[in-house]
């Protein structure tokens, strides 16, 4: 759709607002991989409930919005082997790098963090090469 960029800009603004609330009110960086990762590997300790509340909002609120507006589709590939490999890489990679698109990308770049900028350059380059290789050369995705 031609107005996709506008939805992108507005949705992005809401993401920035969410990150601002989490920073200015709770004093925390809104990084999706860090918030869930700390729960998964047990390193969260006393911040566990706050993380769980964030994740509950992240699942329930858009879930309700989709329910009310009549559905959405992630258009995820049906190849479950690819999906599993991708999930494994995303989980491992974001925890090694200590951040993903929200933590390094949105929250890091916005405070000119060198780590955030370098991480973003590397994951976009790797993502681009992966799509070129697996889509245009192998035709798997």
């Amino acid at each position: 759709m031609p107005q996709d960029w506008l939805f992108g800009l507005v949705g992005g603004g809401i993401i920035g607002l969410a990150g601002s609330v989490y920073l200015l009110v709770n004093g925390r960086i809104m990084g999706a991989s860090g918030i869930i990762g700390g729960l998964v590997d047990g390193s969260a300790r006393e911040t566990g409930r706050e993380r769980a509340a964030f994740l509950a909002g992240l699942v329930l609120v858009p879930g309700l919005a989709v329910l009310l507006t009549g559905g959405a589709d992630t258009h995820l590939t049906g190849n479950l082997a690819v999906v599993a490999a991708a999930g494994l890489l995303v989980g491992l990679g974001t925890r090694l790098a200590n951040g993903c698109t929200s933590g390094h990308g949105v929250c890091g770049i916005s405070r000119l963090s060198l780590r955030g900028i370098v991480a973003t350059v590397f994951y976009i380059l790797a993502g681009g090469l992966t799509v070129v290789f697996f889509r245009h050369l192998l035709g798997v995705i």
């Binding site: 949705g11 603004g13 920035g16 706050e50 992240l58 879930g63 959405a72 589709d73 992630t74 949105v106």
Partner: protein
């Protein structure tokens, strides 16, 4: 109170991801696919999110979080092997499926079996990261 605002922030984040199209893997892979039908949406999402976030960081300077505690310390200046290797692995997975952690969690209720498989695999990867991270940090220590 902390939990309430965490829920609110998570909810806003999810709605932003949904509206911006980032829970649609075709838009993410479209952004990464520079040799295909390139989709610039992700750049607008990033730009739209970074501007208010930069304002929040500026506002935070010299203040305290509204609910007490302290703001995160200044960003760590050292890059390190973990950051680069981790980001490359993450980028590869992101390109393969078109999902990163935020949208993967946000779409849990409508992502179907594939979405659940992705989330389980992601949790597995996260669970396996700390030992590897320690190992890589060890290798990195100068002799």
């Amino acid at each position: 109170m902390r939990d309430l605002f965490a829920f609110l922030a998570g909810g806003l984040f999810g709605v932003g991801l949904l509206i911006s199209g980032m829970t649609d893997t075709t838009k993410v892979q479209g952004w990464l696919d520079v040799f295909g039908n390139w989709d610039p949406t992700l750049a607008f999402v990033m730009g739209g999110a970074i501007v208010p976030m930069a304002a929040a960081w500026a506002f935070a300077r010299g203040r305290r979080p509204a609910l007490g505690g302290a703001f995160p310390p200044a960003p760590e200046p050292r890059l390190g092997r973990n950051l680069v290797i981790g980001s490359v692995l993450f980028g590869a997975g992101w390109g393969l499926a078109g999902l990163c952690p935020g949208p993967a969690i946000a779409s849990a209720t409508w992502g179907g079996v594939g979405g659940a498989v992705f989330l389980l695999a992601m949790a597995g990867g996260m669970w396996g990261a700390p030992p590897l991270r320690a190992r890589l940090a060890e290798v990195e220590q100068p002799a």
